[in-house]
């Protein structure tokens, strides 16, 4: 089945008088399935925002094509835009108007009533300040208002460019919960971010972008597993004796300072402890050698770095 968001061979080259040509996206292929949270990762300048702008018809691709909810973005975006909510970078709204009035003005474009505006303001935690001018809002409040604007259409698809930008820790947790709940409701949430731990905690699937290309994509666990084999970290008072015991037990391992990195599944921890205990060696630490998204991200983006 085709994805809710389909990107095929997307290429975008900017031509600027002074800086010459810049290749922002270089043959990107991407398929985002329906429902859940999809994390779109990449370092600064990887092409995330350009891709999002292409998806929303703000930027015309140099090559390739984008489809959103089955519609070709170039010709049919207007037919599906009512089902898509979005934030591109920092959302900009009229600073002298109140948060409520800004949402009401946007809502009028799609016949959205005041009740829905009130619901959304409540959901993003701005009900108390809804009547204040946006210029008096903090950066985080503006970001939340932007998320509110994106939710206004009760969209099937949300395309959010760095929605946690500028938020305080409590705000980040709120956005994380909001994104999860939106994903659980069956909406497709496509979220770009450079806060990798956030994406790891929120997303079901990820795509990692580097230099305008997708270098990894799939369910978070798969991408994590693809980065490095999982294992166990073992510490004990006599690492050399521990190494001898593991070698005798036929377990692959490597020394990592005063720790032993055992290349077995964390589910096999009992086998490791038994092998060591049989030789009278007792552990001071045993933990899974987990790979986080940041490690995978850095490894993947490093591999495709400048040659």
């Amino acid at each position: 089945m085709a994805g809710i968001i389909e990107v095929e061979g997307l290429r975008k080259e900017y031509r600027r008088l002074r800086r010459g040509r810049t290749l922002a996206v270089d043959g990107l292929d991407l398929s985002v399935p329906e429902g859940g949270v999809f994390g779109f990762l990449g370092p600064n300048g990887a092409g995330k925002t350009t891709t999002i702008r292409c998806l929303l018809g703000l930027v015309r691709p140099t090559g390739g094509r984008c489809r959103l909810l089955g519609a070709d973005v170039r010709t049919g975006l207007h037919r599906v835009i009512g089902r898509v909510g979005s934030i591109v970078e920092t959302p900009t709204l009229y600073p002298r108007f109140s948060g409520r009035r800004n949402l009401q003005l946007l809502g009028r474009l799609h016949g959205i009533g005041k009740d829905r505006v009130a619901d959304v303001l409540e959901r993003v935690g701005l009900a108390d300040r809804a009547g204040d001018p946006v210029k008096t809002y903090s950066f985080g409040m503006r970001q939340r208002l932007g998320i509110g604007a994106a939710l206004l259409k009760d969209p099937e698809v949300l395309i959010l460019d760095e929605p946690a930008n500028g938020l305080d820790p409590a705000g980040i947790v709120e956005v994380r919960e909001l994104l999860r709940s939106l994903g659980r409701e069956g909406r497709t949430v496509f979220v770009s971010s450079h806060i990798l731990s956030e994406v790891q905690q929120t997303a079901d699937r990820v795509a990692i972008l580097s230099r305008g290309r997708c270098v990894a994509a799939g369910p978070v666990e798969e991408v994590l597993a693809g980065g490095r084999a999982r294992g166990l970290i073992v510490r004990l008072e006599d690492p050399a004796a521990g190494a001898e015991a593991l070698r005798a037990a036929g377990m692959p391992f490597s020394m990592d300072g005063d720790a032993l990195r055992v290349a077995v599944s964390p589910a096999d921890a009992a086998t490791v402890t038994r092998a060591l205990a049989e030789r009278g060696l007792f552990l001071t630490e045993l933990r899974p050698d987990e790979v986080d998204l940041e490690t995978v991200f850095l490894e993947l983006t490093k591999e495709t770095g400048p040659s």
Partner: protein, 295 residues
Amino acid sequence: MLARRLVLVFLLMALIGIVLGGLIVAVNSRRPSASDLASARQQLEQSRAACEQEVRASPEEYGLPPGVKPDGFCRETLRLEYFFGDKRFHLSGLRNVFLGTSFILTVGGLLLGASFIGAEWHAGTLTTLLTWEPRRLRVFLAKLSAAVVVVFLLALVLQAILGLVLAAIAALRGTTEGTGGSWLRSVSGVALRSAALAVMAAVIGFSVATIGRNTAAALGTALVYLAVVERLIEALRPPWQRWLVGNNSVLFLTGERDAFRWLNRSMLGAAALLGSYTVALIVVALVAFRERDVT
């Protein structure tokens, strides 16, 4: 859109200007006293008598048209108000007032038109809008229409308020002599053409601001063009003057073809030329708006 600060500021400043102008006119407008009038009538009688005598003696020297009698000629030429130091405000001069305020309305139209889209580009709110309505042609035309309607109505309403204020002053402290049907048609024509010029300026400002994505760029371009480029063309290429915006705008506004005979164009011709320039600029702006990336 009407709540835009610039529109409100412009409206407020215009109203303050009208009130201040009205006060100045009201203070300076004064009807003559009975003794002033009596003295003036006496002087008028004497002057008309002298006039008739001189005209009868040498009608060619005075350019007396055939069929016009000297007494009629002198009655038309010499009027009572000439003899009492007329300080009354004459409503019949409203046309000239509107010709003067047209410049302010045109500059205001340029400013408002440019800011209608320039401010949106500058603030980035247009990006948000385009994620709600991606059909750029619609967005462009909707915004342009709003600018046209607001500027046209604003220009008409302000002129109507100014006209009413001055009419009240004329009725109370001045004179409404010479304000018949033809006067009303002439004044209305100038008011409408003045509003049309303000709209044209607004469309030009809007279009240039769309291309430059900035209000200041639009205003700077327009002012440099009118104040420098057209003056240079006038100086270096006199035959090209007939194609300049400034000259054709004045011809269109005043309708005085005789004063612009060298343009070799009627008022409607000037309107058509200005209209074609405006439409061409709209097309260029629309293409730029549709095709360029929003980054």
